[in-house]
């Protein structure tokens, strides 16, 4: 179960990236991208896949922030060794590129920049191909034509083994004289009755229970997040799995398993189970953040013959993370990982996309990096934790003061984007990113260094068009904000390279009432559409006295304090949001686009916002149809004279956004074509 660390061949190692803490690379695959196809002025690209080897000095002040590093095994030089797999896609002549490396922080092992920015496709899945080789894997080549060097370095040690080629870091476990013990909590909700389940989140590598028979292990069940936990008698469950099962009857052979929990009567759908147990000698997971830091520093300040990167050819680094990795990057900056061992700035720019106002379990003892926080998935993990805003604030309830960026020294301060969709407001308490802790006022922005962009009327990630229904009651939301992200990435690069400030922040404000308490949202009364009555909440959570100072959770389950105030974007009479960056298709709408959806009966409680999905609720084509259905929203024919009229309005809106810097000239064509496709699908 444990992934063993590759032992590097030392002599070979010391040759490259001499100035950095990255001490060597092994390259398993090195080939031209698409047979040497040229991407504009960037020329042909090459791809390398392999392993990077790192050594860090545990006594260096830049490394003292790594939880448990003092317990990590060291080599003869007193350094801690670890490694990470990597994928590098770079101009063959890197000087022909734009001199910027974009480090893509993988999400649970999946790499996503080619699919998200380039609109690439992989027939095997929704994310980047594990070894991109085909034309469609690279999409329209946007990132290549821009001249970026793309790098993915593993940072998460517990990526599901079902993703053998996923981005992964190989870190040592602590090796103390006395075993280090700690509490691990694992909660889960199942969709259909099952008898055993992994202790980890979504197939990740679990922390095994150290003593399966220890009496303090406890399993509870409850029906709602805030309900009281009911303890399930210890004799009804075990650390075990069922083999040779008759799934209907639950009859089979119970086999002891330190990584799974088994319940005799079976786990019932839609109930919240939670097991708390002890484990020992965890991996030093914070080395994953050091891998990101040291990789980008090595590219910027070092050189590598092996990677065909001459000195001075890469001068800037941008970290890009989507969803969980957005939180990873927020955590990295917050904890001080943007200063490397030689006290230089690692990342020049950080793009935390759809990470909400949150951080995560990325540098904690027994941290479970995959654990997040959704309305009905993963509860009370250290995700939505104070502080939230870039500027310093005081929580009036706890009296604690802090800010996300306010303590970062100028010399290590990157430019930072926090970019979110409406989903993060409904499912991820995103409003805390821009409000005072009491939710009464808009918080000041750190305009010199940071931007906040809200993609109005969008879900976590845009659905394909035509959209399907997955976990919600409504169709998923196809409002495509990737066009904004392409422009914003270019703007970020201009900001860090040329010093040209990125376009102004755009997000809903308390001041102009575009950000309101959920009860005040004037959502129209659309037939058969239920407006959510419950939103995701974030609480002040007490993980015990050693949590903030040492990264050690001593209280499981943690103690839950008062919830933070949550605000959401206000909407117009169509149900579409007023504030933030609005796509042309939202401003000139054919539908209501929301950041929320409600679970359908298969997935969860039907009054609860479903995880990561929003809604697409088209208008009717004609007045007759709409009136027959009692839909208060004007029909297409009441809004637009015809398709051309509609398209003209969309074009005008898009041009406005181009002028403001939020969209790229070159993307207008596809934006308009997409708008035409949506019209055609609704008008027919």
């Amino acid at each position: 179960m444990k992934i063993t660390m590759r032992i590097p061949s030392l002599v070979f190692l010391m040759t490259s990236m001499a100035s950095a803490e990255m001490v060597g690379v092994d390259i398993d695959i090195h080939e031209d991208v698409l047979g040497g196809k040229s991407w504009g002025l960037s020329g042909p690209y090459e791809k390398m896949i392999g392993t990077m080897y790192f050594e860090v000095d545990p006594s260096n002040s830049a490394n003292e922030i790594i939880v448990d590093i003092e317990h990590a095994p060291t080599n003869a030089q007193g350094n801690v060794e670890f490694s990470a797999n990597f994928v590098l896609i770079k101009p063959k002549q890197v000087e022909r590129g734009n001199g910027t490396v974009v480090l893509g922080v993988a999400n649970r092992g999946t790499r996503r920049m080619l699919t998200f920015f380039n609109h690439g496709h992989d027939e095997h899945g929704e994310w980047d191909a594990v070894n991109p080789t085909a034309e469609e894997h690279f999409g329209d080549g946007f990132l290549m034509e821009q001249g970026f060097t793309l790098l993915w370095v593993g940072w998460q040690f517990d990526v599901p083994l079902s993703r053998p080629h996923g981005s992964r870091v190989f870190v040592p476990r602590v090796d103390p004289d006395e075993p280090i013990e700690g509490l691990v909590r694992s909660d889960f909700v199942v969709r259909e009755k099952i008898f055993d389940r992994t202790l980890a989140d979504r197939n990740h590598v679990p922390y095994p229970v150290s003593d399966p028979d220890a009496p303090e292990s406890v399993l509870t069940v409850r029906d709602d997040v805030e309900d009281e936990r009911q303890v399930i008698p210890r004799d009804q469950w075990d650390f075990a799995r069922l083999e040779n099962i008759d799934s209907q009857e639950g009859i089979g052979e119970v086999v002891p398993d330190q990584t799974r929990v088994y319940l005799e009567s079976g786990f019932e759908p839609h109930r919240i189970y939670e097991v708390i147990y002890k484990a020992e000698n965890p991996e030093v997971i914070g080395l994953g953040l050091a891998a990101l830091r040291d990789a980008v520093s090595a590219f910027k300040y070092g050189s590598s013959d092996d990677l065909n990167i001459p000195p001075g050819s890469i001068n800037h680094g941008i970290g890009y993370g989507m969803s969980q990795p957005g939180r990873t990057l927020r955590t990295l900056i917050y904890m001080g990982f943007n200063e490397d061992e030689q006290h230089r700035k690692a990342f020049d720019g950080i793009i935390a996309q759809i990470g909400g106002a949150a951080r995560g379990s990325f540098n904690l003892r027994f941290g479970q990096a995959s654990r997040d926080a959704h309305p009905f998935l993963n509860f009370f993990y250290p995700t939505d934790i104070f502080p939230f805003t870039d500027v310093e604030q005081t929580d009036p309830v706890t009296g604690v003061t802090g800010g996300m960026l306010s303590h970062v020294p100028e010399e290590f301060m990157p430019k930072v984007y926090n970019v979110n969709s409406s989903y993060e407001y409904w499912g991820r308490v995103s409003s805390l990113l821009t409000t005072t802790v009491d939710g009464e006022q808009d918080a000041p922005m750190l305009d010199e260094h940071a931007r906040v962009y809200h993609f109005a009327g969008a879900q976590h990630l845009p659905a394909e068009f035509p959209p399907t229904q997955t976990n919600g009651q409504n169709l998923n939301n196809p409002n495509d904000f990737s066009w904004f992200m392409r422009a914003l990435l270019v703007r970020m690069n201009e900001w860090v390279v040329e010093g040209t400030p990125a376009p102004p922040s755009r997000y809903p404000l308390i001041l102009d009432e575009t950000l309101v308490v959920p009860e005040e949202v004037n959502f129209p009364n659309i037939p058969n559409i239920n407006f959510p009555t419950k939103t995701h909440k974030a609480y002040r959570v007490d993980y015990g006295p050693r949590f903030v100072s040492e990264g050690v959770i001593t209280k499981e389950p943690p103690e839950i304090g008062p919830a933070f105030p949550i605000l959401v974007p206000q909407v117009n009479e169509d149900g579409n949001e007023l504030g933030g960056l609005r796509t042309p298709g939202l401003v000139v709408p054919l539908a209501t686009y929301t950041g929320w959806n409600l679970y359908n009966t298969e997935y969860g409680p039907t009054d609860t916002a479903s995880h990561m999905s929003g809604s697409f609720i088209p208008f009717y084509a004609t007045k007759v149809e709409r009136e027959a259905q009692g839909d208060p929203r004007l029909s297409l024919e009441e809004r637009y004279e015809n398709r051309d009229h509609y398209l003209g309005l969309v074009a005008a809106e898009a041009i406005q956004l181009i002028e403001e810097g939020y969209l790229l000239d070159q993307d207008l064509r596809e934006i308009l074509e997409q708008a035409g496709v949506i019209w055609d699908s609704i008008d027919n």
């Binding site: 040229s38 504009g40 002025l41 960037s42 002549q93 000087e95 022909r96 590129g97 734009n98 821009q146 001249g147 040329e498 004279e641 015809n642 398709r643 051309d644 009229h645 509609y646 398209l647 003209g648 309005l649 074009a651 005008a652 898009a654 041009i655 181009i658 002028e659 790229l664 000239d665 070159q666 993307d667 207008l668 064509r669 596809e670 308009l672 074509e673």
Partner: protein
């Protein structure tokens, strides 16, 4: 033969060549291929304040002079008229030089490996205006001079090499410095013809065209010097008695002798065609201008020029763009076989021959006058057969030839022939894609494409025009968006990464290319469509012209007229076929390539539709009004968008230009519908 001119025969020429060939053997091989022998860089500095143009990075400019030596015995040089009369240096080579101006990425390896040569028009730089939407300047240096930076962001290396020896003496106009044809220590004499039309009564006029450096009269008293006048190009010439005019100018009310000007005692009357024919001497070897261009490109592609910061291998493709005169120059360059260097290598990989119509020009013959156009000036060399890429037979002369007839197939470049509507109205431009009697369509070579920019004038007019005389308003239909896309397509085609968009031009076969009489132009109040055009003729310049580039018959004899076909129009007066800009396809006006109310033959017309039905009916305008065509501005805008998207898909427009194209359409609507 002319008195005082030594009789030089083809045999003599051959003897000179042989003598040089013998000398050549004695010289080292390395010198034999060094056509560019020296480059003097007088200016080298950053442009646009060191601004970075995307991945191409910052640019710099280098300007100065290039020195050439060519071997008159090399077969690649046999096409240079009068080269046999050029003075030779000790190595038996002909020396000449040319101004150059280079705008390149500071780090040449950041560029796109393509040199883009601007065949300047009468010494003036053109490509930044056409491709970068810049205000024209002849010494581009500051950011504004580079417009929106298009060519720079694309990574092109921009090159300008002087090729015309007689450009006006003016700062920043670039020229070639060519030796004068000389035989037995005397410069050769010959006939020069100079015609002109004045707009108001004038007493003296230059013998050159439009401030160009004129040829001097060799002997004012020579009886062969004549002056005639006529009222139409084809009208009979009336000789003006010799005592009424002089080679001179009026100064303080007195005639002063001047070998470069002509003076008429009674004054030249406006709008009449005057024509002087005189014996001159001192004919620069004009064709060295073509060789200068050839050899500079060849050096950049196949050699290395450290002094320009261009190491070997940094440039591996060459494209050229020429408009109007410069477009005709490129047709001439091709036809005369200059796309092959002394080492038999291909020079240009691609050409955009813009508004070059069906013509060539006065660029490589004795006593050439490169500035002389073929419509405002009359009967200068230009409209000579052949016109099309593929072999045609002139039914009158029986001669068979093609424009590419002298180009070895390995050195044929990829060619885009682009023309505006104006070229179809000024000249028999249709001959580039019809047979010589205009009865059948003839496709271009596989290596060429032909595009008509429908409903456009020679160079797009400013919009909106500042003056108020509606009948003279020029045509603002902006085809430069097409040129941007086509340039990139051409570059891709030369790299074999993409095939170019299909040709788009009107055809006889489907009735979209018609005789003037068949044009179905709508009735528009106050607008009179042209009923006659300036026709082109087969011309006889004497027996030595084709073989030796010597004009012995001035004025030339007209021996037959070429057919004249124009693009057919739709009910709104706009052309049906060709590359129709979104604003033409979704029109708010009639856009034409002609304008009978303008004295400027290269101006078209812009005739807006009536705003609404009431206004239209009140003015008896046959064309539907804007209000009848479109329900709203947004609908109009949407239709324009659809058209633009289609043109992008077909490769005729660039995605990145779409916002600007749409903005301009919106501004057009707002202008016409303003209160």
């Amino acid at each position: 033969m002319l008195s005082g001119t030594p009789l030089i025969t083809r045999n003599h020429l051959l003897m000179i060549s042989m003598r040089n060939a013998i000398l050549c053997v004695l010289l080292s091989v390395s010198v034999a291929t060094a056509e560019v022998v020296r480059i003097d860089v007088e200016i080298r500095d950053d442009v646009a304040g060191g601004n970075s143009y995307g991945l191409a990075g910052p640019y710099e400019r280098l300007a100065g002079k290039i020195y050439y030596e060519i071997d008159p015995t090399n077969s690649a040089n046999q096409n240079i008229i009068d080269l046999g009369y050029a003075p030779l240096n000790a190595q038996g080579r002909v020396e000449f030089s040319a101004d150059f101006y280079l705008v390149k990425p500071k780090d040449i390896n950041s560029g796109n490996q393509t040199v883009f040569l601007d065949v300047m028009n009468r010494g003036r730089k053109r490509i930044l205006r056409y491709f970068n939407r810049a205000t024209a300047t002849d010494a581009p240096r500051i950011t504004e001079d580079f417009g929106d930076g298009f060519l720079l962001r694309q990574g092109f290396t921009l090159l300008y090499v002087g090729w015309q020896f007689d450009v006006p003496s003016q700062v920043d106009l670039m020229r070639v410095y060519a030796p004068v044809a000389t035989a037995n220590d005397h410069s050769i004499q010959g006939l020069v013809r100079s015609d002109f039309v004045v707009q108001e009564q004038t007493y003296d006029h230059s013998l050159g065209d439009r401030r160009h450096i004129p040829y001097v009269v060799a002997n004012p008293g020579d009886p062969r010097n004549t002056l005639t006048v006529r009222d139409s190009p084809a009208g009979d010439r009336i000789f003006i008695p010799r005592e009424e005019w002089q080679f001179g100018r009026l100064e303080d009310g007195r005639m002063v002798a001047d070998s470069t000007r002509i003076y008429l005692a009674g004054g030249f009357e406006p709008h009449r065609i005057y024509e002087a024919v005189f014996v001159s001497e001192g004919s620069p070897i004009a064709g060295l201008g073509l060789a200068a261009m050839r050899d500079t490109i060849s050096r950049l592609k196949y050699g290395s020029t450290e002094s320009l910061g261009i190491p070997a291998g940094a440039i591996n493709r060459a494209l050229a763009f020429g408009d109007s005169q410069a477009g005709r120059f490129l047709r001439n360059y091709l036809y005369d076989g200059f796309n092959e260097d002394e080492a038999r290598e291909k020079v240009f990989d691609g050409l955009i021959i813009h508004t070059g119509s069906n013509a060539r020009g006065s660029f490589n013959h004795r006593f050439a006058q490169p500035s002389r156009a073929i419509d405002a000036n009359y009967f200068y060399p230009g409209d000579q057969f052949p016109f099309s890429d593929v072999l045609q037979k002139d039914p009158i002369t029986g001669i068979e030839d093609s424009l590419l007839g002298n180009v070895r197939s390995e050195t044929i470049p990829k060619i885009f022939y682009t023309n505006t509507s104006t070229e179809y109205w000024r000249l028999p431009t249709a001959l580039i894609h019809t047979n010589v009697d205009g009865t059948k369509d003839v496709p271009p070579a596989d290596t060429s494409r032909i595009y008509l920019f429908s409903g456009t004038q020679h160079v797009p007019a400013q919009f909106p025009e500042t003056h108020s005389d509606g009948l003279r308003v020029g045509n603002p239909n902006d085809y430069t968006w097409f040129l941007r896309s086509l340039l990139l397509k051409l570059n891709d085609w030369t790299r074999d990464v993409d095939s170019p968009p299909d040709s788009r031009y009107p055809m006889v076969g489907d009735g979209t290319l018609v005789e003037l009489e068949a044009l179905k132009f709508p009735i528009i109040p106050r607008v009179k469509r042209p009923v006659e055009v300036s026709r082109a003729y087969r011309l006889d310049y004497g027996s030595e012209f084709e073989s030796s580039g010597i004009i012995s018959k001035e004025p030339p004899e007209r021996i037959g007229i070429f057919p004249f076909l124009v693009p057919q129009v739709a009910a709104d007066g706009n052309e049906i076929v060709g590359l129709r800009s979104p604003e033409l396809a979704v029109p708010l006006a009639t856009h034409t390539g002609w304008n009978p109310y303008s004295p400027n033959a290269s101006q078209g017309s812009y005739i807006p539709f009536a705003r609404n039905r009431t206004a239209r009916e009140a003015s008896d305008d046959a064309r539907l009004s804007i209000g009848e065509r479109y329900e709203s501005r947004e609908q109009y805008f949407g239709l324009v968008t659809d058209e633009a998207l289609m043109l992008i898909k077909d490769g005729y427009l660039l995605s990145e230009d779409l916002p600007a194209i749409l903005r301009s359409a919106g501004a057009h609507w707002d202008y016409l519908m303003r209160d």
